[in-house]
């Protein structure tokens, strides 16, 4: 590798890092102060890019139009953030933590369709930055002038943020709130206003990032989801809430990726996640983050005091209906019921982790995927029969959860969540690349039930038995002494330790149990579809059960299956009847969150 290549590749990495930094610093700021895991951050980034594209064409300022548009788009998106905070998020701050996540997920859906409606779904090439459109020779190679400008601009923004945080009273309050927001509130600071301002500033930073990306990257309607995971990775590596950390992590990721492309060209799928996993295993709170004060359940733990009572008669009636009705239903309804059952179990297994254990996983798709691939590979490679594969698949998932859990349970809150995501992504990359065994992205085909089970009704009853048994067992585990200990560890790990509980070992076991039942859900699903694909491990597949648990209500184990049923039915109906199903689903979710801020099952709560 010649020195000139190293110099240019380093500059490439830095330019990318600057955009990443802008987006990640906004995300980090919002999380640090408000504890909102803002999935819609990528959507705001996308919105700003499209606004810049249209404004540049519409404004009459000649060469200055682009720069005016960048500023205008950042401000406009900051205002959108303000409206979101005041209009929606503020109404659910009192709900259990993470309910805001459900709201921001709904916003992702809505904004995605808004962009599709306003700009169409075709890819677009944005304008170049006037005056910076060319290149300059550096070390014997041409390098884009615009990228050089970004490398200068990024640190200037960082400097401005530093000034804001360390040289203004407002900044002091922000830093104080990041460390202990209850204390800041107790000292008489208007929290509501602080939250609004932070959310607007964070959104504007996402907007600035999106606007500045326009000359470098084409506009697509999926640019929201492709940036959001990367932004979270940067935030977590840097340490949640730390702006200098975000800068450091962005530079690290940008540069490692730029050189990684030279050394391991096929590893781009997984490189950032591998880096994150290593950083988190070595430094559980990111590079510049601080350990969180115990007992506040920051970002992860959902404090719920009492379980919501679900009338026994209702459960018996539901079970009776599930047994008796399907023979009378049309075939497609039976198939949808199998899918709902699989997801009900999948959500219930996540509930054990996040509800009972207070461990929010962003990577639960790993168990689902391992169950599905486990079953498929046992049939294809080991040649076992379908019933054996069906029963053995959850064991495969549990075995993998044993390894993954070993590393994950050392972490807490959002860091735990992101490490689980990293492992799910690593699993995704392996399945995606290992063509000889997993079939790569073309997946494994022909994974059908045994012939004696192959009618829709027979398979339905198998799924019913497997999933209902799984959900019931999870309920028993949650109420058993083991579950109570998990709750104790969730609510106060140090006190639990003080009375002799091995917190980590309990959490580890919970992780394995959740992996087992997630695997059973995956196995149920794979024989319904007949094929397994890497997207079973994808981020959306991890987010789905999270949304289901929150939608149903995290306080009761029954909330998860209920949420799964509601979500799947809404999704199936909306997708059938409208092209803009994301908009419909998003608006319904927002309404449900505002109407039932403790989940739908919360209506059963007395008083």
């Amino acid at each position: 590798m010649s020195p000139s290549i190293i110099v240019v590749q380093l500059l490439s990495g830095l330019a990318k890092a600057m955009v990443l930094f802008l987006i990640a610093s906004g995300l980090s700021l919002i999380f640090g102060v408000t504890r909102v895991v803002n999935f819609a951050h990528g959507s705001l980034y996308m919105l700003a890019a499209y606004l810049t594209y249209s404004l540049t064409a519409a404004l009459p300022f000649g060469a200055a139009s682009f720069y005016v548009s960048v500023l205008a788009a950042a401000v406009a998106v900051g205002l959108v953030g303000l409206v979101i905070e005041v209009g929606l998020l503020r109404r659910v701050y009192k709900a259990p933590e993470l309910y805001q996540l459900l709201l921001t997920f709904a916003l992702v859906l809505v904004i995605s369709d808004v962009v599709k409606l306003a700009w169409g779904s075709e890819n677009k090439t944005g304008p170049s930055a006037p005056g910076l459109a060319g290149s300059v020779p550096i070390a014997g190679q041409l390098f884009p002038t615009y990228d050089l400008a970004l490398i200068v601009f990024g640190p200037l923004v960082a400097l401005a943020l530093w000034w804001l945080f360390y040289r203004t009273r407002w900044g002091v309050l922000i830093r104080a709130a990041t460390q202990d927001r209850e204390m800041v509130a107790a000292l008489g600071v208007d929290q509501a206003r602080l939250f609004t301002a932070v959310f607007a500033l964070g959104s504007a930073l996402a907007g600035l990032g999106g606007a500045l990306q326009v000359p470098r990257q084409p506009l697509t309607i999926v640019m929201d989801t492709s940036i959001i995971t990367e932004a979270f990775v940067v935030v977590v590596i840097g340490g949640m809430g730390s702006v200098p950390g975000a800068l450091l992590a962005a530079v690290m990721i940008g540069v490692i990726e730029a050189f990684g492309v030279l050394v391991l060209p096929k590893a781009t799928l997984v490189m950032t996640f591998a880096v994150m996993a290593i950083v988190l295993i070595v430094r559980p709170w990111g590079l510049l983050g601080r350990p969180e004060s115990q007992g506040r359940g920051a970002g992860g733990a959902i404090a719920s005091t009492s379980a919501v009572p679900v009338p026994r008669a209702a459960i018996v009636a539901l079970l009776a209906a599930l047994v008796a009705l399907p023979p009378l239903l049309p075939t497609f309804h039976v198939w949808v019921l199998v899918e709902i059952l699989a997801f009900a179990l999948f959500a219930a297994s996540l509930h054990l982790l996040m509800g009972t254990g207070g461990m929010v996983s962003f990577g639960h798709a790993a168990s689902f995927g391992l169950g599905a691939y486990g079953a498929a590979l046992l049939m294809k490679l080991a040649g076992v029969t379908m019933p054996v594969a069906f029963v053995a698949a959850p064991v495969v998932a549990a075995a993998c959860a044993l390894v993954i859990g070993f590393f994950c349970v050392r972490l807490s809150s959002i860091y735990f969540a992101m490490l689980t995501l990293a492992f799910a992504q690593i699993a995704y990359a392996i399945v995606h690349q290992w063509y000889d065994v997993t079939g790569g992205d073309n997946g494994l085909l022909g994974v059908w039930p045994a012939r004696w089970l192959a009618t829709p009704l027979r398979y339905y009853y198998l799924a019913l038995v497997a999933c209902v048994a799984g959900i019931a067992l999870l309920g028993v585990i949650g109420r058993a002494p083991f579950g109570l200990v998990l709750r104790a560890a969730r609510d106060h790990a140090r006190r639990a330790e003080a009375v002799g509980v091995n917190v980590r070992r309990h959490q580890w076991l919970a992780f394995v149990i959740a992996g087992f039942f997630g695997g059973l859900a995956g196995a149920t699903f794979v024989f319904l579809k007949g094929s397994a694909f890497p997207d079973y491990f994808s981020v959306p597949r991890s987010v789905e059960p999270l949304v289901m648990v929150l939608l149903g209500g995290v306080q009761a184990p029954a909330g998860a299956p209920l949420g799964a049923a509601i979500y799947k039915i809404l999704d199936t109906v909306a997708t059938k009847y409208t092209e803009y199903w994301q908009m419909v689903l998003g608006v319904i979710l927002v309404t449900l969150v505002l109407a039932f801020p403790r989940g739908v099952i919360g209506v059963l709560r007395r008083g």
Binding site: E122, V222, E579
Partner: protein, 403 residues
């Protein structure tokens, strides 16, 4: 009040008119299930496909439909997820009783639907997925495919590239099956034609997530004589902008599979690189009267120029109509039999669905890119249509792959 009364009258008339329609129709319509990626990563390319499908259906219904019955297409969004596509197939067949299922854009979605069709003995007409596996290694009796696959297009390009002087080759493509196979088939054929070819760099960015700056740097570092590109969509657009600034196109000859298709060259406007060897669809130059009419009707309907997806959508549904006519029924087995050796007159000439693997003989155009200053977009020049059957393996070879 007057207005209200007039409105009531109009509404009443409309109601009467609507009520009489079913009386006129003799038979229920023939339903066809169309599954495609209307959201997610395939979404930028499926809009024009859908418009052309609607156009084909309107045209055939205006002529009285097929077998005296109207055609009705039910569109479903697979969101780019194979499992979602299977769910739609289940719904379309079980609840809507469609005669057959067609569509799909992404290869893995196509394979999932194909496997479901095999298991459930349903006819599946794969429109756009390019993977060879659909008709060969994972092929079966119930699947037919319209577009020329990666193998065919790779060989078309290799035939031209093999005559050139370039020895040191590099490649960049999305890190999934399409990108890999597009390169391997090209490389293998190129080495047959020109044994001294060596590969000095291969770059595989994740689909939809290219870090263009770093990738261009990696290619320039190895300085190949020629570069084979199987990027598409947003990855390709990002790559071009960066490569233009870094002078990549001046330093090496570039071959691009699919990159002459309007889907991928139009969004680049005048930034499109000139002098690339590509496969594509030069709709603006084709002189067949049937094609000129197709373009005129499509432009009139959508106010947009056609893209390859439009042609594929149109040809797919023409083929389906022909098959139903030939079968004289919507019975699956009869349709499958009808599709074997089915001949279809398309706007770009006659094609046949091979009995041995269900692959159509629709071909592609190979040419060189150039900027059309008047329209402000890149176009293909010196292009030649290569029929699909000229680059397909023989029946014996196919039979071996299908076992």
């Amino acid at each position: 009040m007057k207005i209200t009364r007039a409105l009531v009258l109009v509404a009443a008339l409309a109601a009467v008119a609507m009520a009489t329609v079913p009386l006129g129709a003799q038979q229920p319509p023939i339903k066809i299930g169309e599954i495609n990626s209307f959201s997610g990563i395939g979404a930028p390319f499926t809009g024009p496909y859908r418009s052309a499908v609607e156009m084909a259906v309107e045209e055939v219904n205006a002529k009285g439909g097929v077998l005296g019955r109207k055609i009705e297409v039910l569109f479903r969004d697979d969101k780019g997820q194979p499992a979602e596509a299977v769910k739609h197939a289940q719904e379309l067949v079980a609840s809507e009783k469609v005669a057959l299922v067609s569509g799909t854009f992404l290869s893995n979605v196509g394979l999932a639907v194909s496997d479901w069709a095999k298991q459930n003995k349903t006819l599946f007409v794969a429109a756009e997925p390019l993977t060879e596996a659909i008709t060969w290694s994972k092929g079966h009796d119930y699947v037919f495919r319209v577009r020329p696959n990666t193998y065919q297009q790779g060989r078309m390009l290799a035939a031209s590239a093999g005559k050139m002087k370039y020895v040191k080759w590099g490649t960049i493509g999305p890190n999934y099956e399409y990108g890999k196979r597009a390169w391997e088939t090209f490389r293998d054929r190129l080495k047959e034609l020109k044994p001294d070819v060596q590969v000095v760099v291969d770059q595989w960015p994740a689909l939809g997530k290219i870090d263009a700056s770093a990738e261009v740097g990696a290619i320039l570092a190895k300085n190949p004589d020629a570069l084979y590109v199987s990027l598409f969509g947003s990855d390709w657009l990002a790559f071009v902008r960066e490569a233009q600034k870094r002078g990549l196109f001046q330093k090496m000859f570039v071959v691009g599979i699919l990159l002459g298709e309007p889907e991928y060259i139009d969004p680049l406007k005048t930034e499109a690189p000139e002098g690339m060897l590509v496969t594509g669809y030069p709709w603006y130059d084709l002189t067949q009267p049937a094609h000129k009419e197709f373009v005129a009707r499509f432009t009139k309907k959508t106010d947009k120029n056609p893209v390859l997806g439009s042609l594929v959508g149109y040809v797919t549904y023409l083929s389906i109509f022909e098959a139903i006519k030939k079968a004289g029924s919507t019975d699956t087995d009869k349709l499958v039999a009808a599709f074997r050796d089915l001949k279809v007159e398309t706007p770009v000439g006659p094609i046949t669905y091979r009995a041995v693997d269900g692959q159509s003989t629709l071909g592609a155009w190979v040419g060189t890119t150039k900027i059309d200053a008047k329209r402000g977009v890149g176009v293909m020049v010196n292009h030649e249509y290569i029929a699909g059957d000229k680059v397909l393996p023989s029946a014996d070879e196919v039979k071996k792959m299908r076992n």
